[in-house]
């Protein structure tokens, strides 16, 4: 349904320009759309950046916002996708007291079963890294919480689409024009 709110992953290919993040986030802000997460990185194309933004809105609203984003001069192309159309991951870091690693046997089991990775260990603390879907990250958080977490941080979603993104062809067409 057009009126039903859904989670969309927005992928925006842009020229790498100071201020563009401001321009794009203003489009959401103006319409009172909360950005659930945002990630900016390089893309598969040299000198082209890629924003990955998560929003919960109706598809009708999504289409209009994509139109407004694509209208920006330095945006090459913007897409939106549902979860089914993408492969996506988040990443998180836990900082935990090192003593617990030796005193609480269960922690070692949790680490093993969750497919998380110890990034570093020293006398005071160790850092655990986990990549996966939000539900996996949330589960790990719930499991570790009772033992005491010194610090926790989770990244925004990053996603690639199952379908091809025709950006390279678009840019080639411009270069040969």
């Amino acid at each position: 349904m057009e009126t039903e709110k859904k989670l969309f992953t927005v992928s925006i290919y842009t020229e790498n320009n100071v201020g563009l993040l401001n321009r794009i986030s203003a489009i959401f802000q103006r319409r009172h759309v909360n950005i659930e997460s945002i990630n900016s990185s390089v893309s598969e194309i040299d000198e082209v950046s890629r924003f990955t933004i998560l929003v919960i809105i109706t598809e009708a609203q999504m289409r209009k916002i994509i139109g407004q984003i694509e209208k920006q001069v330095e945006v090459i192309k913007a897409y939106y996708h549902t979860d089914e159309e993408t492969i996506y991951q988040e990443s998180c870091l836990f900082k935990i007291k090192s003593d617990l690693l030796f005193e609480e046997r269960q922690i070692q089991n949790i680490i093993k079963e969750s497919n998380s990775r110890i990034v570093t260990v020293n006398r005071e603390f160790f850092v655990l890294e986990k990549s996966g879907r939000r539900s996996e990250v949330d589960l790990l958080y719930r499991e570790l919480k009772p033992f005491g977490i010194m610090q926790f941080v989770r990244s925004g979603r990053i996603a690639v689409t199952k379908d091809e993104m025709k950006i390279t062809k678009m840019l080639e067409a411009f270069a040969s024009a």
């Binding site: 842009t14 020229e15 100071v18 201020g19 401001n22 321009r23 203003a26 103006r30 289409r63 209009k64 139109g67 407004q68 694509e70 209208k71 001069v73 330095e74 945006v75 090459i76 840019l171 411009f174 270069a175 024009a177």
Partner: protein, 577 residues
């Protein structure tokens, strides 16, 4: 000699010249064909002003009395000529004062380039004197903006600025230049911008869409065209005229589309929207195919969307893909430039006259004429009406004047009743509704089209928002005609207070100064009329005067503009009283 040799070896471009960033700004403007710019000097833009002094025989700088006036003048210049208007200001308050004009240009798709000075790059972010984040502030109201911190960026960025401002759906661009970049010397070389890879200003017209549109039009029994400013911006006036004459389709216009087809054209059925004409508003909800060309279904045009043209198939010819299905769901969208789209449509449509359908427009016009128009233009009551002033201007200008209106009742009256023979004759603040627009915009319009009569029609409220631009008129002697329709009220707000707030006239009555004395203080010829028998002679004297002229017309205090679609009502529920 040795340094000279090394210097030459470092040159990469063959046709470069070593100049300062500030001189480069002026040279870029000249390369873009700019002849007049509007602005106000100040600390952070002084190097550019120093170059403007040196280049004053090639590039005319008009000193406005406020930076807002500079943007509106640039808008007036752009709207009448189709060229890019240019405004220039210093950092901080100079830059923030441009914002209203920039926002106005953004929503009305007016091509302007604004150049602002900025504090030195080493001071950026330090809350330096007259530092403001103008790029941050202007982002939501510009088509594009950019800050330059190195002189070598100036040619490429300014070339992009002009290209972006004028191409596709036009709009305002702001370029902020730090003071050190203005002083810095570099090897200047200018090349016009012809394309940006992330920016496709004009979508390619899909023939299949044009064919679908033609099929709908050819089968329509009661088609209605509503055109907007896209016709003017796309220079598609001749194509639209051919289309409506071949198909016989009744054609109405939005406020910014006014004048694209002469007012007197028999197929021109008037203005749509809140204070538009009765027939096109009512019949929007009776047509079977609605053909929207270069318009954006603004809420002042559509009224309540839930009861807007629900019975009709909608065809939308539009250059900006973001406008399609934004407010009104279309059945067929034809993306592209209006000129090209209509050229492709024209051979595919069949000749028709739609006589019975036209008769419905004529019948409703007769009702509007009897109930409203006749009383507005030929009143029998004592007080002067705004309509009869417009009527007098029409008679004397014969429809050849460009009318620059401000915002409010007088604007609606001007757009309803002004006669236009040629395109680009109605210059007004549509989308933003910026009071104070008209006086400076008229200055820019007259300077861009000195051969035309430019008449500014302004209310007593809006006039006082940019009244200081009388100083600009006095200094430049630009021969604009200024008509203030004085009802001692913020008339449109008062009308709403009367209709929807039980006549509680909160802060709408104006105790006004002696406007004639003020104009005379600026050595501008001025006159005030308040009697019907004096009106014609006064307008004649104004139109024939060789130079700027101010005419105050005292109109009835509590006149209302009708027809009117109340907020939230359907277009077909338009009120005649």
């Amino acid at each position: 000699m040795e340094t000279q040799t090394i210097h030459n070896q470092n040159k990469t471009q063959p046709n470069t010249e070593r100049i300062s960033g500030s001189e480069a700004v002026v040279r870029c403007l000249l390369a873009e064909g700019v002849d007049i710019i509007y602005g106000y000097p100040g600390g952070a833009i002084m190097p550019v002003y120093d170059e403007l002094y040196k280049y004053q025989d090639k590039l005319h700088h008009v000193l406005t009395r406020h930076e807002q006036g500079a943007t509106h003048a640039a808008q007036g210049y752009a709207r009448i000529s189709g060229k890019v208007g240019v405004a220039i200001a210093t950092s901080g308050p100079g830059a923030t004062n441009l914002i209203t004009g920039i926002a106005d240009a953004q929503i009305d798709s007016t091509p302007i380039v604004c150049i602002t000075g900025q504090v030195g790059s080493h001071l950026l972010g330090s809350d330096a004197f007259q530092e403001t984040d103008i790029v941050g502030i202007s982002t939501p109201v510009t088509k594009w903006n950019h800050q330059i911190t190195k002189a070598s960026e100036i040619p490429e960025v300014l070339a992009k600025a002009f290209y972006i401002a004028r191409s596709g759906r036009p709009g305002p661009v702001l370029i902020d230049i730090t003071k050190d970049a203005q002083f810095e010397e570099f090897d200047f070389h200018y090349e016009k911008c012809t394309g940006i890879r992330s920016y496709k200003p004009v979508p390619t017209v899909e023939i299949a869409d044009v064919e679908k549109a033609a099929a709908l039009i050819n089968n329509a029994k009661k088609p209605l065209i509503i055109w907007g400013q896209g016709i003017i911006l796309g220079e598609a006036e001749a194509e639209l005229k051919s289309l409506i004459e071949k198909t016989g389709i009744p054609s109405a216009w939005t406020i910014l589309g006014a004048s694209a087809i002469p007012t007197s054209h028999p197929l021109n059925v008037g203005m749509v929207g809140m204070h538009g004409n009765y027939a096109p508003n009512v019949l929007t909800n009776h047509c079977d195919v609605l053909i929207a060309i270069g318009m954006r279904f603004d809420d002042r045009v559509t009224g309540n969307l839930n009861s807007y043209a629900k019975q009709a198939k909608i065809i939308h010819f539009e250059i900006d893909p973001a406008e399609v299905d934004k407010n009104v769901k279309t059945d067929i969208a034809v993306l592209g430039n209006a000129k090209e789209s209509l050229q492709l449509l024209l051979p595919r449509v069949l000749p028709n006259t739609h006589e019975a359908w036209h008769q419905q427009f004529k019948d409703l016009y007769a009702i509007e004429f009897e109930k409203i128009i006749n009383h507005d233009l030929h009143p029998s009551k004592e007080g002067l009406t705004m309509g009869e002033v417009l009527n007098e201007i029409n008679l004397q200008s014969k429809g050849d004047a460009a009318i620059v209106s401000d915002v409010g009742q007088h604007q609606m009256v001007a757009c309803r009743y002004a006669k236009f023979n040629q395109s680009r004759s109605n210059i007004t603040s549509g989308g933003l509704g910026t009071m104070g627009f008209a006086l400076p915009a008229a200055i820019g319009a007259k300077m861009a089209a000195p051969e035309r009569d430019v008449v500014a029609i302004i209310g007593d409220g809006g006039y006082q928002m940019t009244i200081q631009e009388l100083g600009t008129i006095f200094q430049t002697r630009v021969p604009v005609k200024i008509v203030v329709l004085n009802n001692n009220f913020l008339g449109m707000v008062r009308q709403w207070q009367q209709l929807f707030f039980d006549k509680r006239y909160a802060s709408t009555e104006l105790i006004n100064p002696d406007f004639v004395q003020i104009a005379k203080g600026y050595f501008i010829e001025a006159k005030k009329v308040s009697k019907r028998e004096d009106l014609s002679a006064a307008v004649q004297q104004m139109m024939q005067h060789d130079g700027p002229y101010f005419l105050e017309v005292v109109v009835e205090k509590e006149g209302n503009v009708f027809p009117m679609i109340p907020t939230g009502a359907s277009v077909s529920d338009i009120r005649l009283s």
